[in-house]
């Protein structure tokens, strides 16, 4: 039974099930993202994918794209496709199978398994905070769209089954299996078109951080120039296991740009997230990017003249994942929350 609550409605198991039409021809995609940091210094992050979010659209593919990191920051990336007949996705419950790899569970407990050669894991995520499902009537920024050319279906849909979770199980690194305990995050996105098709939002960043009993899941960025580069952002504030506030007035602003690790595409070394809804959520989170974990040039699969045209008229959309150090000073319904630490985030730029 779905129950209403102050900040949307209660998360139910099929919110973490399949949403898109798996036979879509328009480039629809859906992914189940997860990450976890373990007490022994190892960490994992990746996605189980139906359809590729990278343009041009390809809804036919099923694959995993998962990285395991050792305490020294060395990475073992597994990107592997499986035939459709070795994959299945339930639209009733969270039951995602891609070859020998799967996610299964009933909210708020999910088992993530990956087994590929000498790398793998079998870990269970148990939510420490309630799930977040995007309400249907979220406030929409005041847009000015003289030539409104963004497509329906954009930006991606976003739910957060586990904004903060305890993660336990086994991890295999280069054939060596170890017990692991740590904390993790799991969210879930889907969209009817490849990433960057919509061109509604400019810089978009999203991530999570913990300060004591507080958990923050946030988005931040700026709209495209045609939308006056307005700040856009959302911050979901959990105290203990409950969502106590969701702010919709914010922005994320990058600076100290570099092209290190990407060739020619710039990414910010520092980011300021600002939230400004007095009485609800207000304050800043300063991020210092410490590691570029993943980078995709979203036009990499385009053919030569498609790339030329896109760069001349559309942009150079890219996707990044970072590790960061944060320095946060946020006031949530009158309660000031300050803290420093580390976190992980994604960044999509046009």
């Amino acid at each position: 039974m779905v129950t209403p609550k102050q900040w949307g409605r209660a998360f139910v198991t099929n919110d973490n099930a399949l949403h898109i039409d798996p036979d879509s021809k328009d480039g629809a995609w859906e992914w189940w993202y997860f990450d976890a940091d373990f007490e022994n210094g190892y960490s994992i992050a990746g996605t189980y994918d139906l359809g590729s979010p990278r343009p041009p659209g390809n809804s036919e593919v099923r694959y995993i794209e998962i990285s395991i990191y050792d305490p020294q920051g060395n990475k073992r990336l597994t990107r592997k496709r499986y035939p459709k007949d070795q994959c299945s996705f339930s639209s009733e419950t969270c039951d995602v199978v891609i070859g020998p790899n799967f996610i299964r569970g009933e909210h708020p407990v999910y088992r993530f398994c990956m087994s590929e050669g000498d790398q793998g894991f079998d870990v269970t995520y148990e939510g420490l905070v309630e799930g977040y499902i995007q309400p249907e009537n979220i406030p929409v920024p005041d847009l000015t769209l003289p030539e409104s050319i963004f497509a329906p279906g954009a930006p991606p849909q976003w739910t957060v089954p586990i904004g903060r979770g305890e993660v336990t199980g086994k991890l295999t690194w280069d054939g060596k299996t170890m017990d692991v305990v740590g904390e993790g995050y799991h969210d879930h996105n889907w969209e009817d078109y490849p990433l960057a098709h919509g061109m509604l939002v400019g810089q978009t960043m999203w991530g999570w951080l913990h300060i004591g009993e507080w958990t923050f899941n946030w988005t931040g960025g700026t709209m495209l120039r045609r939308n006056k580069n307005k700040g856009t952002g959302r911050i979901i504030c959990y105290k203990g296991e409950k969502i106590v506030a969701i702010g919709y007035k914010g922005g994320g602003f990058g600076s100290n740009y570099t092209t290190e690790g990407t060739g020619s595409i710039a990414w910010p070394r520092t980011i300021e997230l600002v939230y400004n809804e007095p009485g609800l959520v207000e304050g800043t989170i300063n991020l210092n990017i410490t590691q570029l974990l993943e980078f995709w040039d979203l036009h990499a699969r385009f053919k030569p003249f498609q790339r030329w045209y896109a760069e001349a008229f559309i942009g150079r959309p890219s996707y990044f994942r970072y590790r960061f150090d944060y320095d946060a000073d946020i006031t949530v319904i009158g309660e000031r929350v300050r803290g420093k630490g580390q976190g992980r985030m994604e960044h999509h730029q046009p």
């Binding site: 030539e147 409104s148 050319i149 497509a151 120039r225 045609r226 053919k303 030569p304 003249f305 498609q306 030329w308 045209y309 896109a310 001349a312 008229f313 559309i314």
Partner: protein
């Protein structure tokens, strides 16, 4: 047979090129005003002329050839007449370029990489269709750069998925 889906997509493309053009025009205007270094902005008749030139350059660099390619693609898709792409529109663009007061530097920069790009695609010997092959060879065989025709060819090749 006119494809509504294609027309919708091409209208969206027109939005992209108009947006690119107007942003470049505004950037040029902003730089021009900053370079004047005057507190009060009063346009002289020379200023008016210079700003009009900026508008023409943005239009000629980002809209003429690409809008022609968009419309040609829609018409070609419906009528399957290759001469639209191979002869009629290129002839129109060549004449229009000859009439231009001057070729904008930014247009030259925009097209400068295209002959090499076309050569690399031809050298890759993929199975280009008749129109693609024609457009690619047209770019590589051009002795004097016809910037608008090259832009048209490149935009059309993009729509063809090259």
């Amino acid at each position: 047979m006119i494809s509504d889906e294609l027309i919708t997509e091409m209208v969206e493309q027109l939005g992209y090129i108009v947006t690119a053009a107007r942003e470049r025009f505004t950037d040029a205007l902003e730089t021009y005003i900053q370079d004047k270094k005057e507190d009060a902005i009063c346009f002289t008749i020379d200023d008016n002329y210079n700003i009009e030139q900026m508008f023409s350059e943005a239009f000629n660099t980002y809209i003429v050839a690409e809008a022609a390619a968009i419309l040609s693609y829609v018409i070609y898709d419906a009528l399957k007449k290759e001469e639209i792409v191979k002869q009629i529109v290129p002839a129109f663009l060549d004449l229009y370029e000859k009439k231009m007061d001057r070729i904008p530097e930014i247009l030259v920069k925009k097209t400068s990489s295209l002959p090499e790009l076309a050569k690399s695609v031809l050298d890759a010997k993929t199975n280009n269709n008749s129109i693609s092959s024609h457009l690619l060879k047209d770019i590589t065989n051009m002795s004097d750069m016809n910037n608008l025709r090259v832009s048209f060819n490149a935009a059309f090749l993009n729509f063809l998925g090259e």
